[in-house]
Assembly symmetry: C2
Homo-oligomer: 371 residues x 2
């Protein structure tokens, strides 16, 4: 008979592309005994979660909820609800997650056109406009913080070119929400999702999503049912809205944790939170450059929450990561897709974005690379 | 500025249709700091979770994993992967969750035929066979433990009539797995899913799923991609299988908790666990009958994990539930669908299945109904 020991997982310092470290307060909230998904106490907590999500998204969108799955479930909810078979869709691809959106658009029957850029670069509104002049699109999708490249897509002026031709702007903020300004209403974004386990520093398992009134109107005009029942926003809206109609059993404890993580961001204040993320990232960038290393992304496009560092010539990048993990309990990640083997990915997200964590990483890298 | 207090949720005794109470050991495991989804420590834990799931499913199926969503996501994974547009599907409906399967089959383009029974009754293999003789089906779906009715569908002989005409048997065990024998291999079931938050007593947020080699062969012969990327079993298999390829960020803490909940079942032993569920259910049934109440389902078909009790004439069923919750912190549920207003639903699942909980409920009901 197999025996199973007590859970015996050595904690790490998580400086990869997510999950990030979770604050003790959030872990304690996570472990509170669950109540029912229609308990009046939980219903009040749902309202608070929605309000706090509106705070970090910087939006007044009524439809602002956590999807009961990880960030990719948020992406799929965005695609599944707003794209019907045959709908023209433009996806801007400059990294792994743009490719994933395009893959999902294909699966849901969207008529897909893509524009592409090298990994680490971004799109201008003029480039998006030019693509839309060649063919208009009902939905234009882009990634705000590309975890695979470390580039941050500027959002100024994007909604204007998308809306001018009658489309909706879908933005992936999985790696940016809570760490850098997203400004959903200020940027007039329509469909925006994120993940709980990045700069919000809750455990993985929920995907915050917000939808503009413009996009909700489009949803009402759908001619076909959303293929995914689990991610059908109209049904989800009846549970998260005032009628509280049962849809599926919400992940109760995960919502406890998300509330606490959002409350931490609320107490710190978004501006202070963004400043902390930027300061720690700049400390990382300048220190690595002082050690002779190069960042993959040019300074003005760098994502403070996720840095891609070029692996120095002659260094076995996987061996370095393995030593950081085994000797220092420190997790960073390797490159993904086009950057596989070429960069390390260092996340400074949420509770992981601490000066001391950068200090530890720099010291550990000096030991490992120097030895 | 709105203020948000510390999480202040009064614990309840959860005797509804799920979530059930979570054991302290499981809550502690849940609150352990997360590590990365590709951390060697987490990869070992994934293997353990899979082995323990095989134990409770009573199967040797290689493809046995927790889906990263609640029980309904497990249902959708089962439907989305094994039904292609145009596939003939037979769904046996005798309650709310059979209706939900039928709804999903329609959304994924299945060519749906249903057979129906009054809520609280079950199907015989002969009835399924007769339906399949009228029209064969690639997938036959039924619900083992109907949470909406409290009836338990016998599984003996079902696979034989389904396999004889070349189909796959899909079974919903959301409300039964861990509380009553499911016996996936013994009953030769093909596609079986459950939820973490019922008789397994982990928090809601994961959906155990197991798939027979016969069904995996059918999956390989699909002509179209699975519409849902998030629930695509072939992709999920590359992460949970030996290649460990990144698909989505697994809900790390939820997997800690599921492992601990499964370990509790393993330590108790399945047979002892089933006997405990049955003994507490029989105590509930005989005690309620002694109080003059009637169960909705006839004795030999009753589901030990979920009991439907007919509301006595002249009693305001919602008021009783409300008093149980507010005065005793005790949750039971009302009826769903065809049984709305007619029954209470009392769950004795997992950690909630304790003699003392039945004693508390009986006492509270005596006070509330007598007053």
């Amino acid at each position: 008979m197999t025996s199973y020991t007590d859970l015996n997982i050595t904690p790490r310092t998580l400086l990869g592309p997510g999950p990030s470290d979770v604050a003790p307060r959030v872990l304690r909230a996570l472990a509170h005994p669950p109540v029912g998904h229609l308990d009046p106490q939980f219903v009040r907590l749902m309202d608070e979660v929605q309000n706090l999500l509106r705070y970090v998204f910087e939006t007044e969108n009524q439809m602002t909820i956590p999807i009961s799955g990880t960030g990719s479930a948020g992406m799929e909810a965005a695609v599944a609800n707003f794209i019907e078979p045959g709908d023209p869709v433009l996806v801007c691809i400059n990294g792994y997650f743009g490719m994933r959106i395009a893959e999902m658009v294909g699966r849901y029957g969207g008529d897909l056109v893509t524009i592409e850029k090298p990994w680490g670069e971004v799109f201008s509104p003029e480039e998006v406009d030019a693509a839309l002049r060649r063919r208009p699109a009902k939905v234009v999708a882009m990634v705000h913080g590309e975890t695979s490249t470390g580039a941050m897509q500027p959002l100024d002026g994007m909604a204007e070119v998308v809306h001018r031709q009658g489309g909706l702007l879908l933005v992936d903020t999985v790696a940016s929400l809570g760490g850098v300004p997203v400004g959903v209403d200020r940027h007039d974004l329509d469909i925006v999702y994120s993940g709980s386990q990045k700069a919000l520093s809750a455990p993985p398992g929920l995907a915050p999503l917000t939808v503009s009134p413009r996009a909700m109107e489009s949803l009402k005009r759908r001619e076909s049912k959303v293929t995914s029942w689990y991610l059908d926003l109209t049904l989800l809206g009846t549970y998260w809205g005032s009628s509280r109609m049962y849809h599926h059993t919400a992940p109760i404890n995960m919502n406890y944790a998300l509330r606490e993580a959002l409350r931490l961001a609320y107490e710190e204040g978004l501006e202070a939170c963004f400043a902390r993320h930027r300061a720690n990232a700049e400390f990382l960038w300048s220190s690595l450059e002082a050690m002779g290393m190069q960042m993959h992304v040019e300074p003005e496009l760098r994502l403070p929450t996720l840095t891609t560092v070029r692996v120095p010539d002659g260094v076995d990048e996987a061996a370095v990561r393995s030593r950081l993990l085994s000797e220092f309990n420190l997790e960073i990640a390797g490159g993904l897709g086009a950057l596989k083997g070429k960069v390390w990915r260092v996340g400074l997200m949420g509770y992981s974005s601490q000066h001391r964590n950068v200090t530890l990483l720099l010291g550990a890298l000096r030991e490992v690379l120097g030895g």
